[in-house]
Subunit: 347 residues, 2 copies
Amino acid sequence: MTTIKDIAKLSGYSIGTVSRVINNHPDVSEEARRRVQEVIREQNFQPNSNAKQLKQQSNSAITIIVKGNENMFFESILERVQVMLKESGEDVAVAFLDEYANEVQTAAQLCASRKPKGFIFLGGNLEFFRQDFGKIDVPCVLLTNTAEGLELKNLSSYTTDDMEAGRAAVEYLIQMGHTHIGIIGGSASRIGSQIGFRRMEGCKAAFDQHGLEFDENMQYEPSRFSMAGGYESAQRLLKKNPKITAVFALGDTIALGAMRAIKDMGMSIPEDISVLGYDGIESSRYSIPRLSTIRQDTDMLAKKGVEDILLRINYNHAVTDEFINFSLVEGESVRNLNQKRKNAKKQ
Amino acid sequence: MTTIKDIAKLSGYSIGTVSRVINNHPDVSEEARRRVQEVIREQNFQPNSNAKQLKQQSNSAITIIVKGNENMFFESILERVQVMLKESGEDVAVAFLDEYANEVQTAAQLCASRKPKGFIFLGGNLEFFRQDFGKIDVPCVLLTNTAEGLELKNLSSYTTDDMEAGRAAVEYLIQMGHTHIGIIGGSASRIGSQIGFRRMEGCKAAFDQHGLEFDENMQYEPSRFSMAGGYESAQRLLKKNPKITAVFALGDTIALGAMRAIKDMGMSIPEDISVLGYDGIESSRYSIPRLSTIRQDTDMLAKKGVEDILLRINYNHAVTDEFINFSLVEGESVRNLNQKRKNAKKQ
DNA sequence: CTGAAAGCGCTTACAG
DNA sequence: CTGAAAGCGCTTACAG
């Protein structure tokens, strides 16, 4: 293996100078720089990152923690974040966790053993952040949940305003003439920290505004963020409440599973049951029928998250909590009940 | 930060003994082991992996290289491989590459800078392996392509027999009465190294066997392994050749995009056009209509790959090239032309 | 069974 | 601008 020592010998300079060239320090003569770089190229030398990181103490890669493997929405953010971080010359590591795992504990362990420069969380349970985040002493960014009100010194957050988006979703279904609306997705837990909780709060607000009841027992089913979860919860919901004409799924992956369930129950979308999703993943644009959905701005989410963590790592910027705009994308999966007559033809 | 030195001081033993306890060396007294472990637990100590790896020379995490971000098939293998590796106590790193990137060059660079214990490639272009694999001196496993005939000392491979599966796919469509069959997916390049090439070879064999022509110009369209790719290539193919009654997509992701394109061209699946996929990803079980597809055994692929790399890293086992069984899963997307009369009702 | 010590490949004051 | 040297936190012969 070629080491910095070999490069020193070959170039005729000391290892100190070689190190300075590698790290772009200014106090090196042009001649030395040229010569050393030449040898590095010749030898195809790559500095040993273990040694480098050991010396520099805290910091290896920026670590991305993805919560929920079957969640296609996170995959798309992950991809973008990865690319942008690489472009900025950062190493990046990825850890996939179960939807219900404790991401903060995992991060804390990694913090102790590998000293990453920072963490980006894709999804997160605020309860865990409240409990265990103290052990983490590097810049972190939480994506798709807000850390507002937590007052944590190392945590920024960027997310869609889930409350407002949930409200807009139900509002839309009501405008389309639906009064018996079911909701699936998220956990039944009352703790206001899970993915989906704030979306639900928004939904309830919309029902309220329109003087509609929301009977959680009859109109809600919890579900994992997966197609299988959506399939089962939609079935349960529609069986226990046959009055429902529209289902709002708290994630597109769930919605896709729900659509299949509805079909298998012998009903059509949107003729018999309307489906509205949340996320705007790629599959929702190709499904049959196309899924109407709340589109989250993944590009912006990724961009803000990366910029934030870089500024905090390199320039010690302060933390931020920010909402990213969303939009309602109309596909083919929601029926307008206000114009029933025009809906004679099937499909 | 607590280091091994602190643990030594606190426990009253030397750092050598502490190190031995951490690494489960046998030559430590029960008493010492107990005491040291106690202190480690008290302090919540995590050994610094940079230092450890620097000492042990070559090896940090096992690195998984995923080729093609939008390929949902790889995601499912990735997930399984990750979990199994973690269960075996291995660190794992993941790198996502573009479908057309040079994965072997990337691995070679990582090899020099980070010295991973080994690589698992999800997807790979044999041409790159021929050219650059020499630079890699750690155990590698290639999944979903065969390394047979390459004679590389560090490379095992596990894959579906793509040739045979491609043959079976076209054979099936022919049995269902289709004679005008189109194929989409993979690259147009003649080099026999890309994903999809062997599948194509199998298809051609099936056409041959049945005395059917295969006019690559009229019956084939290249495509990225993504829904967008499938959408566009299906459109191009069906426009240039209206006789086609069945499309075989070389990946489910492609097939999903193709189905949407067919729908948008005003045709029905499978009434007007049949679609057959390849992979058996989760989405194919939930799509409308359900996708008929060649199901690759991802569990087995993942299991064999992980076992192989572990045995080679730890016990210096020899490399293996093996085919994994596949199965044809009938969904709702292929029409049987032999029984036309029964197909009166729509959907 | 245990400790003292060398050394892994780097970076970075320190001195010149 | 450059070199010699200390030291990052570990592991592992070596000696006892």
